[in-house]
C-alpha cells in the first residue's frame, strides 16, 4: 500500500520555442509519500508540476498515471477578481459537489473552519493558502499538487503549513507533490527530493540531497540564509518550531 506507484514520469522534456525548459526528467510519485521539487527561479519547477497535473500537454516523454487518478491542485498564484463575490465555501465547491460535512472537515483539517462564510477577496494571503490547501483535500484525491504553498506566508505560518501537509498525507494516504524554494523548512516532511535546474541535478532522500555537490552549488548561499531566518524565528516563538515538528513526525 505504502509503495503503490501512482504516477510514473519518464524522460520528460519540454521546450518553449527554442528554449529548453525541462531536460529528460524521470521520477515516480508513490502513495502516502511527499515529493518536494526544489530549484532556483526559472528551473522549470512550475512547468513540471503543470505537466504532472495536466495543464501542459505538449511535452515529450511519457507519464503513466494510475487509472482514474484524482488530483487536487493548489496553484502558485490565485488572484480572485474583487468584482466576483465568492465565499470560501463556494470556492471549495468550485469544480465539484461536496456535502456540508465534507466542507467542514476539509476546512477544520487546515485549521480554517472559522473562515467558511467569509468572502474570498477579504482573506489574507496566509488564510487564502490554508483555504486552498483545504480545497485540494476534497473529493478523496490520490495526489495533491502544491505549487509553493507558503509563498506570502510568514515564517511561523510556513512551518505550521508544512506540518499540516504532513498530517494531510497521513490522514488521506495520498501522494503529495510540493514545490518549495527552501529545502530546510520542508525537509522533515519530505520523503523524496527532486533538485531541479532544467535537468534533474540530484534526487533522493532529503538528507542525501542536501549533501550533494550540485545541490550545494545551487543553494549554498540560500541555505545559510534560511538557517539565519530560522534562528531569528526561534528567538521569538517557542511553541511552534520546525525542529520539534520534525521529531513529532519521525
Amino acid at each position: 500500500m505504502a509503495t503503490e506507484t501512482l504516477l510514473r514520469a519518464r524522460d520528460i522534456s519540454y521546450s518553449q520555442g527554442k528554449r529548453l525548459i525541462l531536460d529528460r526528467i524521470s521520477f515516480d510519485l508513490r502513495r502516502a509519500q511527499i515529493t518536494t521539487i526544489i530549484g532556483p527561479n526559472g528551473a522549470g519547477k512550475s512547468t513540471l508540476t503543470n505537466i504532472v497535473n495536466g495543464l501542459i500537454s505538449d511535452y515529450s516523454g511519457a507519464i503513466e498515471r494510475s487509472a482514474e487518478l484524482r488530483i487536487g491542485y493548489l496553484p502558485q498564484k490565485v488572484y480572485v477578481n474583487r468584482l466576483m463575490p465568492l465565499s470560501v465555501e463556494r470556492l471549495l465547491r468550485l469544480t465539484r459537489i461536496s456535502s456540508d460535512a465534507e466542507i467542514e472537515r476539509a476546512l477544520a483539517q487546515s485549521e480554517v473552519a472559522y473562515l467558511r462564510q467569509r468572502q474570498v477577496h477579504s482573506l489574507s494571503e496566509g488564510e487564502l493558502k490554508r483555504v486552498l490547501l483545504a480545497r485540494t483535500t476534497l473529493g478523496n484525491p490520490d495526489l495533491i499538487v502544491l505549487d509553493e504553498p507558503t509563498a506570502g506566508v510568514d515564517v511561523s505560518g510556513e512551518v505550521r503549513m508544512y506540518q499540516l501537509i504532513g498530517e494531510l498525507r497521513d490522514q488521506l494516504q495520498c501522494a503529495v507533490l510540493l514545490v518549495s524554494h527552501d529545502l530546510h523548512l520542508v525537509m522533515s516532511q519530505t520523503d523524496q527530493v527532486l533538485c531541479l535546474n532544467q535537468h534533474l541535478c540530484c534526487s533522493g532522500l532529503p538528507e542525501s540531497v542536501s549533501q550533494h555537490p550540485e545541490y550545494l552549488a545551487l543553494f549554498g548561499q540560500q541555505v545559510s540564509d534560511s538557517i539565519a531566518v530560522y534562528a531569528h524565528h526561534h528567538d521569538h516563538e517557542h511553541d511552534v518550531s520546525g525542529e520539534t515538528g520534525a521529531h513529532h513526525h519521525d
Binding site: G54, L55, Y73, V80, P85, S87, L94, T95
Partner: protein
C-alpha cells in the same frame, strides 16, 4: 423618429400594440441575457472584448450592406472572425491584450465608417447602428433576439459551473478536469452572438455599458456569483424601464437613455450605501 407632440390616449394605445410593446419585449429579452453574460465577462475581464466586437461591428454592417445581406449577418461574421483569431493567439495563461483589442476595435470602426460612406447615401442610418434604435424593433428582430437568447441561456445553464470555475482560476479548473480551452472558446462565440443581437437595441457603441454598469451596481450587494446575476438583472430591468420611459416622453434616443439610467441607478445606490454604511470603501 418619435413624434414630439403628446399623443392622445387612443393613438397611444395603437402604438402600444405596435412598436412600443415590441421595444419593451426586446428590452426584456436583452436584460435577461445581459445579466448573466455581463457578470461572466466582468469576472473574466472580458468586458473590453464586447466593446471591441461592438466597434468592429460597424465593419460588419458595412460588409452586410455591400454583400446585400442583413447587417446582423455581417456583424456576426466579423465578430466570429475576430473571436476565432483571438482564441488562436490567446494561450491558457494570457489574458487578452488591451493593445490588440484597441487596434481591432478602432480599425474595425474606422474601416466600417469608410465602407458605409462608400455606399449609396440613403441606405443606412448610421446613428441607429451606433446608438441603437430600440423603438424600431421589427418582429423579425424580435424573433432572432429571442432565439439567440434561448440558445445562450441554455448554454449558460449547461456549463454554469465550468464558466464560474474558469472565472475564478483557469489553472484550478484545468487541473480538476474542466476543459478550459473549450469553455473559453465557447464563451468567445457566445459573446459574438450576444453582440450581434444586442446591437439592435443598444447600438454598437453602448453594448458594453449594458453589460458592465448594472453588474457593477449588483456587485455592491452580492455575496455569491448567482446572486450577482439576479441583482444585476433587476438593475438592468430598472434601467430599461427608466430608459424607455424617458425616451418616450422626452424623446431621448433609447440606447443612451438606458445607459444614463443605469449609471444614475449606480450612483444612487452608492449614495444610499454611503448613508447607510459610512465606512464603505
Amino acid at each position: 423618429m418619435m413624434s414630439r407632440a403628446k399623443p392622445g390616449r387612443i393613438i397611444m394605445t395603437e402604438w402600444l400594440d405596435d412598436f412600443l410593446w415590441r421595444a419593451v419585449i426586446a428590452g426584456l429579452i436583452m436584460v435577461a441575457i445581459a445579466a448573466p453574460m455581463g457578470c461572466l465577462m466582468v469576472w473574466q475581464r472580458l468586458a473590453f472584448l464586447s466593446d471591441t466586437l461592438g466597434h468592429a461591428a460597424v465593419m460588419g454592417v458595412g460588409l452586410g450592406l455591400l454583400l446585400q445581406v442583413k447587417p446582423i449577418f455581417g456583424v456576426l461574421a466579423v465578430a466570429l472572425v475576430i473571436v476565432f483569431s483571438l482564441s488562436r493567439v490567446n494561450s491558457l495563461n494570457n489574458a487578452l491584450s488591451e493593445t490588440t483589442l484597441a487596434i481591432i476595435s478602432h480599425t474595425g470602426l474606422a474601416g466600417g465608417i469608410i465602407l458605409v460612406g462608400l455606399l449609396p447615401a440613403p441606405t443606412i442610418n448610421l446613428e441607429a447602428i451606433l446608438f441603437g434604435d430600440l423603438l424600431a424593433t421589427t418582429s423579425g428582430d424580435l424573433l432572432s433576439l429571442l432565439l439567440t437568447t434561448i440558445l445562450l441561456l441554455l448554454l449558460l445553464w449547461r456549463h454554469w459551473r465550468a464558466f464560474v470555475a474558469v472565472s475564478v482560476s483557469r489553472e484550478i479548473a484545468q487541473a480538476e478536469g474542466i476543459e478550459v480551452r473549450k469553455i473559453q472558446f465557447l464563451m468567445y462565440v457566445m459573446i459574438a452572438l450576444l453582440v450581434a443581437v444586442m446591437m439592435k437595441v443598444m447600438g454598437v457603441l453602448l453594448i458594453a455599458a449594458m453589460l458592465v454598469i448594472p453588474t457593477t451596481s449588483a456587485r455592491l450587494f452580492s455575496r455569491s456569483p448567482e446572486q450577482m446575476v439576479y441583482i444585476s438583472g433587476l438593475y438592468g430591468l430598472a434601467a430599461l424601464g427608466a430608459g424607455i420611459t424617458s425616451s418616450f416622453h422626452v424623446d431621448w434616443q433609447t440606447g443612451p437613455a438606458i445607459v444614463i439610467s443605469a449609471t444614475a441607478l449606480l450612483l444612487l445606490t452608492l449614495a444610499v450605501m454611503r448613508l447607510v454604511k459610512p465606512d464603505l470603501d
